[in-house]
């Protein structure tokens, strides 16, 4: 296939889709499948056949719509009618009323308008809209046109310049400017060069990257291709979690299809670009999110980080220059090249362009996956999009940034979400987890939960992280068993600062964040536990209840 | 410290081999010098049953292994101005804490001591104070002012420490004496 063929495929596919009056998108992501989405897809296919509207209505399997709490979710186009908690009976009603009679079934609709309106879906533009298994669907929605543009009109340097103009920063957590990273590698000596797409979303409570891979795998592939073209790499690895079977399957199918069409492989679309993508499976190691650790893991070794320098940009995979990029960052790339860096830089907040995906979970009315412009406030996310706290309870804290993020109090709800302000508040962007915690939770217990996680995930290389975190855990255990002393507050804070400053890698450096932020914002709760021996949430001071037995 | 009155001085022996006390006695003639400066009010070396109300300096040898020792050390702490952990057992738990490596170590040592190695009438006596689940170094149960590690600490170091302390300086033993 050649460059021009992309356009042809797009035209054919658009014509094909135009022939249908309606399109039923059944969300078949990991969130909806446990609720019966696959059967539902079959039901819809049977129903349109049964009712003779198969010529009129396209039933498609899609990725995540985002409203995961009300799954299985079905979207009817045109008009983006979102149906919630669809059962086979409801499916019948939808087909008869909406498809045949043209009357949307009002009482079955997902009615939270703000959930949709407050969002800005760039990365998730295709999620829930296209069939991830059909490359044609992606191409019809403008897919691979950015690649064609790069290969025909832009030099690698111009691609990097465009990214630089967009102000895109890495979505993996630290927020390093993407263009800067690329130019380091593009200028680095040594070949071949490699790209690793980081899909090792190890944070508990976060599923944005998985959803992305399940819903729009080709956006990721296109992003990788453009990155490869820009920095001169011919090989990319997608490092993903083995716990994500659907994402792996979707990606594999997408890569096979792209190879078939010569979008990846030797002489991509008839040009001189060679590009190969391989999937590498992680195996349950959170620390592999760290860039030097992910390199070790791709090389088939223990995922233990090593000190930098040398940075992966000069000596990464097998000692060669390597770009390690989060998949969410990569999914932004095609859009930036399509619409220009200037367009992108206007979205979001001034020093933080673009959007960010967040998994909002915990004690919240509309848990799910959202994408919001940078700079939006936590209040908007929790209350407008998330719909507030269930059972009319009050919000106690918001956890931002996964297990090594921070526990922020409700007084910080108007904090704009971007890398810098989160850091000032003691949290991190991390991979985009927001967990709402209500007054039924004990923050001592919650902080210990995260420490437990980091203890289990520490690689064991450096002393502060390996031993220090265990000591913190022991102190928490004592507090929760009623044996704590008031001096423990100081000890906790001293140890936490120590671990933050002396650990070798990001895991250790951020692991004490939940402790530090709870000490900072919720000291009273510690005092209550230590002095009054009281736990308002009733989690502590009893055996086997809330206390994790190691 | 009251200039006219000699500071009171005590030594306490918890779970340890008494080696630290031996080392203390090995101060030999220096003991006389110390004796001139302090008033010994409590020690396994003298026959006083009750720990006095007000003690200036107390050297504690040994770790906390049973309930009696725990209540004893708490009492000692409240009645002492400067409490010194003398020797590795008091500082780290040392050999006495080896039973901590076993699950149910407290039961196992009792069994070993009174049943397995007993030739006649093996039984665990009732009059022994109940062992704690674990053996603790002093600072895990009470605040400690100074630590003199060593198994045992050398007489020179004990002398240095006491001389400095009695001269109202703050002794720095940590670089002179080591664990073990």
């Amino acid at each position: 296939m050649r460059l021009a063929d992309i356009q042809k495929i797009a035209e054919i596919e658009v014509d094909f889709q135009r022939a249908y009056k309606y399109r039923i998108n059944v969300c078949c992501s990991s969130g909806c499948i446990p609720l019966g989405a696959i059967n539902l897809l079959k039901t819809f296919q049977d129903l349109v056949t049964e009712h003779g509207v198969i010529e009129n209505c396209l039933v498609a399997r899609t990725g995540c719509v985002g409203t995961c709490s009300v799954g299985p979710v079905v979207v009817v186009e045109p008009g983006d009618y979102i149906y919630e908690k669809v059962t086979p009976e409801k499916a019948r009603k939808i087909v008869i009323d909406h498809i045949i009679l043209g009357l949307p079934v009002k009482k079955l609709l997902f009615e939270n308008k703000t959930f949709i309106e407050k969002q800005h879906r760039l990365v998730l533009r295709n999620a829930g809209k296209i069939d991830p298994y059909r490359i044609e669907d992606y191409i019809a929605s403008g897919g691979y046109s950015a690649l064609v543009k790069c290969l025909t009109k832009l030099s690698p340097q111009e691609v990097i310049d465009e990214i630089a103009a967009s102000g895109l920063r890495g979505r993996g957590g630290a927020g390093f400017p993407t263009a800067k990273k690329w130019s380091f590698v593009s200028r680095a000596h040594g070949s071949p060069k490699y790209i690793i797409a980081n899909l090792d979303e190890g944070d508990p409570g976060v599923f944005a990257n998985r959803t992305l891979a399940e819903a729009d795998p080709h956006a990721l592939i296109e992003g990788l291709l453009i990155a490869g073209y820009a920095i001169g790499a011919e090989k990319a690895f997608i490092y993903t979690r083995a716990e994500y079977p659907l994402a792996i399957d979707t990606l594999k199918k997408a890569i096979n299809k792209a190879s078939e069409l010569n979008i990846i492989g030797k002489n991509v679309l008839g040009t001189s670009l060679n590009f190969d993508i391989e999937i590498r499976l992680g195996a349950g190691a959170f620390v592999a999110g760290e860039e030097t650790a992910i390199i070790a893991s791709v090389e088939g070794r223990r995922a233990m980080p090593r000190p930098r320098p040398p940075y992966p940009a000069t000596a990464g995979l097998w000692g060669k220059p390597t770009v390690i990029q989060n998949v969410e960052t990569l999914a932004n790339i095609p859009l930036i090249l399509q619409n220009g860096g200037a367009w992108f830089s206007k979205i979001g907040s001034p020093n933080c362009a673009g959007t960010k995906c967040f998994s909002i979970t915990g004690k919240i009315n509309n848990p799910g996956l959202i994408e919001v412009p940078m700079g939006i406030t936590l209040r908007e996310v929790i209350f407008d999009i998330g719909g507030g706290i269930p059972e009319n309870r009050s919000l106690k804290a918001v956890l931002v940034g996964g297990p090594s993020g921070g526990c922020l109090p409700d007084i910080l709800l108007d904090l704009p979400i971007d890398y810098e302000s989160l850091k000032t508040a003691g949290a991190i962007m991390g991979s985009g987890g927001i967990v709402a915690i209500d007054d039924q939770s004990c923050l001592i217990d919650t902080a210990k939960f995260f420490i437990d996680f980091c203890v289990a995930e520490s690689c064991g290389k450096c002393t502060p992280c390996r031993v220090g975190l265990v000591k913190i855990k022991e102190i928490f255990k004592k507090i929760m068993q009623g044996e704590g002393k008031i001096e423990d507050i100081n000890l906790l804070s001293k140890l936490s600062t120590f671990i933050t400053e002396t650990s070798l890698c990001g895991l250790g450096q951020t692991a004490p964040n939940p402790v530090l932020t709870t000490l900072r914002y919720f000291k009273q709760e510690y005092v209550e536990h230590l002095v009054d021996r009281s736990c308002k949430a009733d989690k502590c001071f009893k055996e086997n209840k809330g206390v994790n037995i190691n | 410290m009251d200039k006219n009155k000699k500071p009171t001085f005590a030594t306490v022996w918890l779970s340890g081999c008494s080696g630290c006390h031996m080392s203390f006695l090995d101060l030999d003639e220096a003991l006389i010098e110390i004796a001139n400066k302090v008033q010994l009010v409590y020690s396994p070396l003298i026959d006083i049953k009750e720990f006095p109300e007000q003690v200036t300096i107390t050297l504690v040898e040994g770790a906390i292994a049973n309930e009696e020792q725990l209540s004893m050390i708490k009492k000692v702490r409240t009645r002492t101005s400067i409490l010194v952990a003398l020797g590795d057992c008091a500082v780290t738990g040392n050999v006495t804490a080896l039973r901590n490596t076993e699950i149910d170590g407290d039961k196992k040592v009792l069994k070993r001591a009174f049943i397995e190695t007993s030739d006649i009438n093996p039984q665990i006596p009732n009059e022994v104070s109940k062992l704690l689940k674990k053996v603790y170094p002093l600072h895990e149960k009470i605040p400690v002012d100074y630590y003199i590690p060593g198994c045992p600490p050398s007489p020179e170091n004990i002398l240095y420490f006491l001389t400095e302390l009695l001269a109202e300086k703050s002794p720095q033993v940590e670089k002179r004496t080591k664990f073990g």
Binding site: P34, V206, A283, P403, K545 | -
Partner: protein, 191 residues
């Protein structure tokens, strides 16, 4: 997986004399094992490259359900990596299991969202009711209980996987009932 498609003759595999390999298979008690053939094919596909160790371990676990020392030894010899290295890698990653899991596997998600919604209590209840410890199997080998850090079904938490079925919004009673019924069914079938 289609082995023909990617059948590259490996220069490295020649290094290993076939006889030697055979011996190790006999020693390991693995000879004439169809599963071993599958593993061997996969390793060949991977060119017996050391950097594919993780891939190979994944395959081995897929084939055997877990990876015991015999299989590890076989892999180590085939791809010419030191035993300690292979063992180190296999034990570093929590996904690889060294022990044979029980007949039915319960995997509880201990992600943040599920935790906040009380999965810990449910796990404790399972442990108590079926005498099984997290990370282990029951004495009769019928049941294993594993903990995973987030399966990504956060919106329907707490979530528990019982033999490949993800169950969302679980309650203590619901899980206990499900497990009991699975074990009951098992009993009837074996009678």
């Amino acid at each position: 997986m289609d082995t023909k498609k990617n059948l590259r003759s490996s220069s490295q595999s020649i290094l290993l004399s076939p006889k030697k390999k055979d011996n190790s298979a006999v020693n390991l008690g693995l000879k004439n094992d169809k599963r071993l053939l599958k593993l061997e094919n996969f390793m060949r596909k991977m060119n017996y490259k050391g950097c594919a160790l993780l891939e190979i371990l994944h395959k081995a676990q897929e084939i055997y359900g877990y990876i015991n020392k015999n299989v590890l030894a076989y892999i180590a010899e085939a791809i010419e990596l030191p035993a300690s290295h292979v063992f180190g890698v296999a034990t570093f990653y929590s996904y690889f299991k060294q022990q044979q899991p029980g007949k039915h596997v319960i995997t509880a998600c201990l992600g943040t969202a599920c935790y906040v919604k009380g999965v810990e209590e449910i796990i404790c209840a399972i442990e108590k009711n079926f005498s099984v410890k997290r990370g282990g199997s029951s004495d009769d080998g019928k049941l294993s209980l594993f903990i995973t850090r987030c399966i990504g079904a956060c919106a329907i938490g707490p979530a528990i996987i019982i033999d490949d079925d993800i169950i969302g919004n679980v309650t203590e009673d619901l899980v206990l009932e499900k497990i009991t019924s699975i074990l009951e069914r098992e009993k009837i079938e074996t009678c």
